[in-house]
Amino acid sequence: MPQTPHAAAPLIDVRGLSFARDELPVFGPLDFQVERGEALLVQGGNGAGKTTLLRVLAGLLDGVHGEVRVDGVPAGPAARAGRLAYLGHLPGLKADLSTLENLEYLCGLLGRRPSLGLEDALAIVGLAGYEDAPARSLSAGQRKRLSLARMWLSPAPLWLLDEPYANLDLPGIELVNRMVRAHLDEGGGALVTTHGAYAAPPVRTRLLELSGARE
């Protein structure tokens, strides 16, 4: 795991965070922390602001009120770099590239743990034998698995998983839970969004309920 500048500080520390789009509040104000070895389950119905919250934490959206600290450092591009890995609705895969080439490109850009090979990661997520298949030929679930392989290779201690269970079959859901548990065992943390409690990693979990700030 990557070395940490502030081993005692929570991976992410959020105080009074709120976000409004066109003056309409989307969520907040929220206060929460994610410690090492801990997962935060973000629940809420459609439109409750789960994705927005994760995008704000990833630094993809500006115009927020409140304070976010990553590893004890006020969040900015430098504080986030290499500490956050984000799995969103858009996987960032190139349809014309093969599974392995996509993984190689994303890891080249985002960094990877040196201990694990690309093929090994593909095998872990159940894509062994698909190394040379172009991403366009993969099913939605297989693409999600490919993104999970990217997360698994990421050196970042904090995972932001937006609907990681979407499109996955039962073994896939089990895979996500296994990966989150292994990541937490190594001292990482995770924020996981989901609409319901039907799928949750069996780990030390805090729950954050987003109900939507609108009346």
Binding site: L60, Y86, L97, E101, Y105
Partner: protein
């Protein structure tokens, strides 16, 4: 930690270059489109003007520049659109290297894959328009300095419109005013040389513009991407 773990500027650039070269090879037909478009414009122009050698030779620098500029405009929308639509840009923004650096690498790759084939076709186009041989080096030098400048200016405009579904005409409207000085100095330096004057002035201005754009355009484009993808 081994060097593979945290991407440096060089390793991130290498990953992006390798990706773009692979994509180019998978879709090699598309890569020739800008060059084909420029050839088409020049051939049609030559046909429309008839066989008046003198007239064609005099119009050649302007026609060549306009053909190159329009074909570049045609390819501009593909600069960031694909990466915006599949979520690549989001991952670029999370990468531990500056977004401006990735934008610069991507823009230079885009230039290499769309404008460079065109530069190779310039001798053919110049021959079609009876551009006098002694002017070819000036023409190539002006295009060699001008097309990367057009790509960098285009990157800023393309980044500004990346959040829109269909940017077509707006992209052209925003880009053309920025392209005009490049066109004026580029075609102007060749015209100067044709009249026996020293073309150095226009060429030096293009070179200065290119240096300035190399530094500023990626930063501006990166900021535009951040704003456009809110």
């Amino acid at each position: 930690m081994s060097e593979a773990s945290t991407p440096t500027l060089a390793s991130a650039a290498r990953a992006l270059v390798r990706r773009d070269l692979r994509l180019l090879w998978r879709r090699r037909g598309d890569a020739l489109q800008p060059a084909l478009f420029a050839i088409l414009v020049v051939v049609l122009f030559a046909l429309a003007m008839g066989s008046e050698r003198e007239l064609l030779a005099r119009a050649a620098p302007g026609v060549l520049w306009v053909a190159v500029l329009l074909s570049g405009l045609l390819a501009l929308d593909t600069l960031f659109r694909g990466d915006a639509e599949d979520g690549s840009l989001e991952q670029w923004r999370l990468a531990p290297v500056p977004l401006a650096w990735l934008v610069l690498v991507r823009t230079l790759m885009h230039w290499l894959t769309t404008a460079a084939p065109l530069l190779l076709a310039v001798p053919l186009l110049a021959e079609l328009l009876y551009l006098p041989r002694p002017l070819w080096p000036v023409m190539l030098l002006a295009l060699g300095l001008g097309t990367p400048l057009l790509s960098l200016l285009g990157a800023v405009v393309s980044a500004l419109t990346v959040g829109m579904r269909r940017a077509g005409v707006l992209l052209a409207l925003l880009a053309l005013p920025l392209y005009v000085p490049v066109l004026v100095f580029g075609a102007g330096s060749v015209a100067q040389a044709a009249q026996g004057h020293d073309p150095a002035g226009g060429l030096l201005l293009l070179a200065a513009g290119l240096l300035l754009a190399l530094v500023l355009a990626p930063v501006a484009a990166a900021t535009a991407i951040r704003i456009a993808s809110q």
